[in-house]
Each structure stands twice: as C-alpha cells, then as structure tokens.
Symmetry: C2
Subunit: 315 residues, 2 copies
C-alpha cells in the first residue's frame, strides 16, 4: 500500500503545502493564504481543510497517510507548542495536538522553519546523500540548521543552529537585533554586507561604484566585488573570512560532511562556495579539511520538503 | 534476569575496567596493565581474558552479558576500526570485530576516549539527568565531547567535540600542535595558561609571585590569580574570557542544557564554574542564558563509565 504524507511550511503570508509519497518528489504542491487576523485562529483549520480536500480528490484514505510535518516561523517546544508567534498573530498554540485532533488523529510533527528548511535540504536538496549537514542561509540575517544522522539538532532551548548569533565578528560596531554585539550575521548576511560597505566608504577616500548609489543592496556589493571595486573587495573579503572561520568553528563542534549554503546572498553564484571552501580550509582542524561546501537546491521550497521529511522521520 | 556489561577504558599504561549491571554504580572495577610491546598485540586478548575471568568468578553466563564498550586514545571509525594509535603501538586494528570474535561474539562498541569520557559524565556524572551536554576537559590540552539526546556526536571524521581546536584565540603567538594558530586550547588548557603567563611576565615589569619560580605550573598561575597577583590576573582573565566566549559559540551550534567542566585545571575549585558561567552569560545568545556550567564528577573513571554507557546504548 502506498503511504502518503503532507509537508506544510507556514509563512507570514502564504502556507506552502505538498503531498508526498515517501522520499520522492512531491505529487502535488500548492499554496493557501495565511489568515493571520483574529489571532491567527483560522490557520490550522485552513491547513486541515486543504489536506482533507486533497485526500478526497485523490481518493486517499486516512489510513494511507503517515502524518504531516509543519514548519513554523518561531520557536517550537519538543511537544509541538508554539509560544507567541508574532508573524502568525498566535498566542500560545498547541499545534501538534490541535491539528492532530482535527485531522483524523494522525501524527503531526512541528519544527522551527529554519531547522525544517535545513532538514529539507539534507533529505531532498544540496545535502542529499550525507548524514551530517550544516545549512547556512545568507538572507536578511544569517539562519542555520544542524542535521546530525539525518535529524534536526534542536538543542535544549530551540537554539540549535542559531549560528548567526555566534559571537565572533570582532570588528562589529553596531548592536545586533538580538541585543549582543559581534554576532556573525552582522557581517555574513545581506544587511551585514550593506552596513560593512557603508563603513568602508566612510573610512576610505577611494573611488567606488557604490558611492554613486543612494541605497545600494547586498547584490550591488557582491557585483562590485566581482567587478574589482575596492570597497566591494574589502567588504566581501571580510565576510568570506569571518564566515569561513565560523564554518571551521562549527566543524570543531559537530564535524559535518557538508555545509549547504542558501539564501539570497548565495545567488551570486558558484564562486561563493569555492571562496568559502578556501577560507574554511585555511581555518579548519586538519581532520575536517575534506568537508564539502555546496549550494542549496530547493530555494523557498526547502521548508515544505523538510516538513515532509519531518513527517516521515521517526525519532 | 539481571543483565551485565563491561566498560573498558584503554590508556597508554593501564586499562581501566568495570563490571556494570545497568545504569547503576559498577559492581566491580579494576585495572590491568596495557602491554604496548609487539605492536600492542596483547592488548585485546588481555582485555578478553580479564572479562572472561570476571564472568567465571561471578558465575555470569555469556547470555547475561549485553556487551562491552571500549574507549581508545585515538580516532575510531563508525565501524570500530582504529587507525595507527601511537599510544598503544597499534597499526590498523579492527577492535569491534576482533574483540567480539574472541569474546562469545558479543556486541562490542568502540569510541574515542574523550567522547566516551563525555558520555560517562552525561550518564553517570556531572551531566546526569540532562539530555544534551557538552564536556570540556581542561588538561594539558582542551578536550571536548558533545552529547545530544544521550548519544555521542562523533561527526563525519570523528572530529565532533574537538573544540580545543576552535580557531578563536586571536591573541595566539604560537603554532598549536595541530599546525594551526589561534586554537582555543592555546589559552584554555594547562599548557596555554603557562605560556600566556610567561608572555605576560615578559611584556610587563610589575612584581609577580611567578617571577621567583623557574618552571611554574598551571596550578601556580591559578593560585597566583586567587592571591591577587597581577600576572595571574591578566592570564586567568584572558582564559576565562576566551573560554566563556567559546562556550557561547558552542551554544549557538548545539544549545546544550549543561556544560560539564573537567580536567586538572578544573580542580582549582568551584569558583571556576561560576566565573565561566558569568563570561558565558555575557556572550551567550539570549535564548541560552539559563544553560548550566557544572563540574565533572568522575575524574579519571569517566572513560570507564562512558564505555559502559556505550555498551548499553542502542543507536
């Protein structure tokens, strides 16, 4: 008998959903809006309704479904409880229990969206075929996820994989969103690149293509680097150095097979993986120098894939 | 029926052995010499002989033994193979297979001694009662072990927990034994403290109790710190700062419930755990600030206890 599961990635505006049969590509993917009004009370019923409709249309019975995985943009306890998720308008919501109660009492597994996306890349994407992977998502901030033996390392406070807040950026001049100073994401993120480039322009008098732009972006900084611009060069080399060092540090803790690099900044091209691998090798403990640095493959779908992996995984 | 297991910690001069019945204190512990001559070919037969004799004396049948765990002072593959262990005189030795073949074909589990000692502290010692623990052993070097969900995180090259080689000691002036510069153990270890204190004395002219001693030890440096000596103060505060920062970094990767601190340097007293907790809190991501810092409890027996835990653990 074929067994199905659902992968559900809940975002602030849309819920990405997928119907999977084992660890193959999804049979169907679709989206529904995230109704955050009224304390987000419609979100779980909407998800339940969408899954049930899909089952009816395909003639799938509840006993053919092993369960559903759900990624949530906020911290999740081991029991699948979400405490005050601002993006969804939620107070305390017992996601696992509530969704299971309204969905044939099937097993529901819930995780933080960054960790769930890392699981997706590990099982279906850039880290496929490796048991131990660390995902780094270079977006507005620096997200992360640690996968050991194919399972998420949540940690004791759900802070496993919060490597963006590793206190190693000794050149930081600002306070991070988290309240500390010196977090890796203050340089290794889109926001970090822009701030650093602004500092470089203020402290130097050389010409730069960035001086002509009023509000330049991280992409502008990366393009400037690739064009040989001096401000781009100083900025991006600073990021590469701290991020490569950070990866070497991570390797002394969990020693992954592979680092998978995703997020908007990673779209600059394959040169980024090569440059990070070079910096990593410079700093890495000798036992870890064959660790790979590979690009993420699933983009914004990683969370949906990872939620399906979560549903299939038995812990 | 009562079930037994053996914990075996193989050191360069003695093998520490224990007979356990489940997760209680050992029924009997003893030592045998490690015969490293002739390529260490007697080591495994000696261990086998010691375990068999113990079983005969207590009337324990092979089907009452769930297996044995073995800690080895070197890297161990997932298959229980040891490649060139200098301390034991070993070339390539298939420890798991060979010992099982000569010991009633019982299951044998093999691990690196630092990781196995961490497992011992997690199950029987300073980390007992916590699922996620990081052990830091402040000895001649800085050893480490990462335990998540009660299991060792070996990593892909056996380098999980090699946090002594985390490249964060930016003030390093020497090359580490591993070939890199800037490893945390260059300050956070007995050797690191002595080197740093010597540098402090060279670069300053103030009086210090350490100037009168020709070959001072890490204990002398710690005693000088506690007595308010200026060289002791600069040296030990440097170590506390880098080690506290290193612990905050580790917490962003695996987020343990507790750090357990062992090794010779930790014998200076409970003030060390309090001082490290203070530095950790300063650098830690806000989600991790209730993480505990506790002393190790098992001393040199941690490896034997951990080997027993390894035998009992089913992965």
């Amino acid at each position: 008998m074929e067994e199905f599961c659902f992968g559900v990635d809940v975002g602030g505006t849309t819920v990405k959903m997928g119907l999977f049969a084992g660890l193959a590509e999804p049979l169907h993917t679709w989206e529904i809006p995230t109704r955050t009004e009224d304390g987000g009370k419609n979100i779980l019923p909407d998800i339940r309704e969408a899954m049930s409709r899909e089952m009816v249309e395909r003639g799938i019975a509840p006993d053919q479904v092993v369960g559903a995985g759900v990624g949530i943009p906020g911290p999740v306890t081991d029991d699948g409880v979400v405490n005050h998720c601002v993006n969804l308008g939620w107070p305390v919501v017992h996601v696992r229990e509530q969704l299971s109660n309204m969905f044939y009492h099937l097993p529901i597994r819930v995780g933080n969206d960054a960790n769930v996306a890392a699981l997706g890349e590990a099982w279906f994407g850039g880290g496929k075929g490796y048991r131990n992977m660390v995902m780094l998502t270079l977006g507005t901030g620096l997200g992360g996820g640690v996968i050991m033996n194919g399972r998420i390392v949540h940690g004791s406070h759900g802070a496993g994989g919060e490597v963006g807040h590793m206190p190693i950026y000794t050149e930081a001049t600002r306070v991070c969103n988290c309240g500390n100073t010196g977090c890796l994401e203050q340089i290794a993120s889109a926001t970090g690149l822009v701030h650093k480039a602004r500092e470089v322009l203020v402290h130097n008098t050389f010409d730069s293509v960035l001086r002509g732009k009023k509000n330049f972006t991280a992409k502008d900084v990366l393009d400037a680097y690739l064009a040989g611009d001096p401000a781009g060069k100083i900025t991006v080399e600073c990021m590469l150095d701290f991020l490569g060092r950070g990866m070497a540090i991570i390797a002394t803790v969990v020693d992954p097979d592979v680092f998978v690099i995703g997020g908007g900044v990673s779209k600059t091209g394959p040169w980024l993986m090569e440059a990070l691998k070079e910096r990593f090798d410079h700093y890495a403990f000798f036992g870890c120098r064959d660790t790979l640095v590979l690009p993420a493959k699933l983009g914004n779908d990683a969370g949906m894939y990872g939620a399906a992996a979560l549903a299939i995984t038995k812990e």
